[in-house]
Homo-oligomer: 512 residues x 2
């Protein structure tokens, strides 16, 4: 009978953060020693990489690297859907002809889903592969727009029209920069709503903002280069920018956004800096005009690139939005990144870059080597959707809807969670940044929420360095007012320990 | 008045292939010196990176790198659509407030397109950005399927059906592995037609085979690792595999595919080997069973990964196809790559990987960091297209169509081009590999063909090393018999110099 190695496994993997031994090596060494010394037995299940990373308080990448090595060397064996196990035979044995049976996943490990349409669709999957939490449509899921209020009819009509008309030229290989009509429509939108300085030829249509970040990394950042990011910041950007072997350098943010003085004090060369000036991810600040000018001045003088991720600038609830940083840049140092995931829907997979002319050819060649070009049908439909005014109408209509949802979330938090959770920023975008009392284990809170069908993001996971404020990032865009109100009640109960489990959060101190 | 620097610019950029100075540095040095010494004057136009690469007989990447550096340092200035120019002011001057006007692109540089629907659509673009040759649908264009014979009606019906029904769960973030229904359909197709050993969970749906290659590079190949590729081979793979700083090691192919003995003799570690066993790109050989076993044995003993690109295995005209290499692999060393670009159409942007279980989690995390997941609508339509039998029917029907097109191309080549061009391989796939007499400049031939609206690929551009056989790769999949017959006549005239230009190809010697 196989038994699971519980949270206690952390004790087998001592980590020394000041050490020169890389984290993945420390994790590998700890697990390997535990197996060789019999602390972990053959057939025993080890935690998922995600769970172990959360327990160790590290990012998932070193854990993945360590597991990969242990799987490769035969200390572990595994398969998604049934978990990872300590291998029955010693690693240097010959290949076994067949895999032994494995126990079914426990209910706790694969929570049953609610009987919404979403849940029903998921339930039709093969049972071996339950839907991970990350892409379930559950309250407080980040980055979800109001999919229920999307103008389905005109959109479906445009898609169907182009599907029926698809000409050979739109089935063959297309322009790596994107369809001309779509680039023109995007350029016009960005000029008029975001004060971005651009022509259609400056726009590059890509498969979402993550692909845009990866492209920036490939073109602008070499192996061993150093790239500054906001601390706390967007983990997806860290993953994309670090994928090619760059060093990620966290720089603090405050209520005016990135602290440019700290950037200036950074010793050594910095090749690029990644910022979210409209709505700092995750804490929510809008970068002040003074900081913007200081950042552009720093970039021009240092010859560094500024990667401006304008991921959800369209919705702002407390003041007029500032234009994009890119529009203030006189020296061609800013690469602007945008996406339709938040303003239309994520499964479109359409994002875009605005690239300084001097970089354009290089970006096009890199795009060709990355994924050649973007699917044409959605580009055709999207170009019409923008040109025919559906997009502008949709944006206008959504402002009121998101304001109502934000207000419902804030009201619910005030009523049900005020004693244990403080709102840090709710000025813009589709999520509210909240803080938990210092010392709270927000990752543990998030896993307790998951057991109650709530998907929040732990603020501490957005930090690269050791000093981490605990908090919860609560997405409200994808959920109506009644759902949010009910979810805040559950949230409050869980935070106060009223769900009958251990771990009630202590009442917070006043925020500094 | 600005003048163009003609082909003579090559004389200003002497290249020494045996040198330790990297090619991009040699190109940078040559151009910089030419500018500083006044051989290239302020305001003068330099060739496009593509044209200069062709003239120098190098890949485009070193040229892009050199131009990027010169643009960055202010020796050049430029903008796509109006070209790249030697900068008017010396590099260390301050930023200029405005750009001077530039002459319009000449007709020769932007050839007018035929008045097909394709041409008409292109003509609607802004004139500043003419369609590059690469994505025009013109005879001999590689990798184009028979778009005119695609079953539009059932496909459009499926797309429209799903567009009208799109549920919130299919608009939100989706599974990075791909829709379960599509993975099941792909796994079944691969098991039955390609003898690939896989379950749905082993399949990873990605945005085309280029993205699949890039993902393999990211997961399996580190900075400074060495990766073996076929010589000659697929330049897109070289670009993807080398993007993260790996060293590309060319290994010769013969009529049995990759020469595994040469791989064995390679000194130093090899992390992975990229092969096209079903239909070697570009020369066309099918890898023999003995070589396949030798390759798998080598990989298992060396702990190297085998990247099997099965890009167009479906159509074989002379014998029964062999199953995939992946199906013969007992040691989990093969990552299998496939695509719908050739069997359906490229603008779908759907490809897939079959990944050994031990690598799956790592691949999923890397996919998440690369572009998160693939657009859902096309996955839904595609899953139905496969499950409802449209796909199998389409494949069966296309076999006869491609056989007829291949035979028409071969007949046309025999009639019009036999004196100057020999067919090397036409056994499978959507292109015929031909050879030109030794010493022929095939890149120059390709640019003459382009002036006659023909898009061929120069065989020499598929080599990494210095020994390059000249030849033409002629795609036939996308063109009907009459078009191919007419195009071979034009091809013969151009090759024999009957188009009134210089550069007739000399009659070939018998092939060794």
């Amino acid at each position: 009978v196989r038994t699971a190695a519980g949270p206690g496994i952390v004790a087998l993997v001592p980590l020394y953060r000041g050490s020169r031994v890389p984290l993945h090596r420390q994790i590998y060494d700890g697990l390997r020693r535990a197996i060789l010394e019999g602390m972990l037995r053959a057939g025993q299940r080890v935690p998922s990489t995600r769970a172990l990373a959360a327990e160790l308080g590290v990012s998932r990448f070193p854990v993945l690297t360590a597991y990969g090595q242990l799987l490769h060397e035969g200390y572990l064996e595994g398969r998604v859907g049934s978990g990872t196990y300590v291998r029955a035979a010693p690693p240097d044995d010959a290949f076994r002809p067949a895999r032994p049976g494995r126990p079914a996943k426990t209910a706790a490990a694969a929570p049953s889903l609610p009987s919404t349409p979403a849940g029903a669709a998921r339930a039709a999957r093969p049972p071996a592969r339950p839907a991970p939490d990350e892409w379930a449509v559950r309250p407080f899921r980040m980055s979800l727009p109001a999919l229920d209020r999307f103008p389905h009819a005109p959109w479906a009509r445009l898609v169907a029209r182009h599907a029926h008309r698809l000409a050979p030229v739109h089935m063959a290989y297309g322009d790596p920069a994107g369809l001309g009509a779509l680039r023109s429509a995007i350029a016009e939108h960005l000029r008029t709503t975001r004060a971005v300085r651009c022509e259609p030829d400056d726009v590059l249509v890509v498969s979402g903002s993550q692909a845009a970040l990866r492209l920036c990394a490939g073109v602008l950042v070499g192996h061993g280069d150093r790239v500054a990011v906001e601390e706390p910041g967007y983990p997806g950007a860290h993953a994309a920018l670090g994928a090619g072997g760059a060093e990620i350098v966290p720089v603090p943010v405050d209520n005016e956004g990135l602290v440019v003085d700290a950037l200036r004090d950074e010793p050594g060369d910095l090749r690029a800096v990644y910022v979210t000036p409209s709505h700092q991810y995750p804490l929510g600040a809008s970068m002040s005009a003074a900081r913007r000018l200081a950042l552009l001045d720093w970039a021009a003088r240092r010859g560094a690139w500024v990667l401006e991720d304008d991921y959800d600038s369209e919705y702002r609830y407390v003041s007029r939005p500032l234009g994009a940083l890119q529009g203030m840049d006189a020296h061609g140092r800013v690469v602007y990144i945008g996406t339709f995931s938040k303003v239309l829907f994520p499964a479109l997979r359409v994002g875009y870059l605005v690239v300084p002319p001097a970089l354009r050819e290089t970006f096009l060649a890199a795009r060709d080597a990355l994924d050649v070009f973007s699917a044409t049908l959605y580009q055709l439909a999207l170009a019409d959707f923008l040109a025919e005014g559906h997009f502008a109408r949709h944006l206008r209509r959504m402002r009121g809807i998101y304001l109502a949802r934000r207000d419902a979330l804030l009201a619910g938090l005030a009523r049900h969670c005020a004693s244990v959770l403080s709102v840090h920023n709710a000025d813009a975008g589709l999520h509210v940044a909240t803080l938990l009392p210092p010392g709270t284990d927000d990752v543990e809170v998030v896993s307790r929420l998951a057991a109650h069908q709530l998907t929040a993001t732990a603020l501490s996971t957005c930090y690269r360095g050791p000093a981490r404020r605990p908090g919860l990032l609560l997405g409200f865009g994808g959920f109506d007012e009644a759902t949010l109100m009910a979810a805040t009640r559950t949230l409050g109960e869980i935070l106060r320990g009223a769900d009958g489990r251990q771990g009630a959060v202590q009442a917070p101190q006043a925020e500094a």
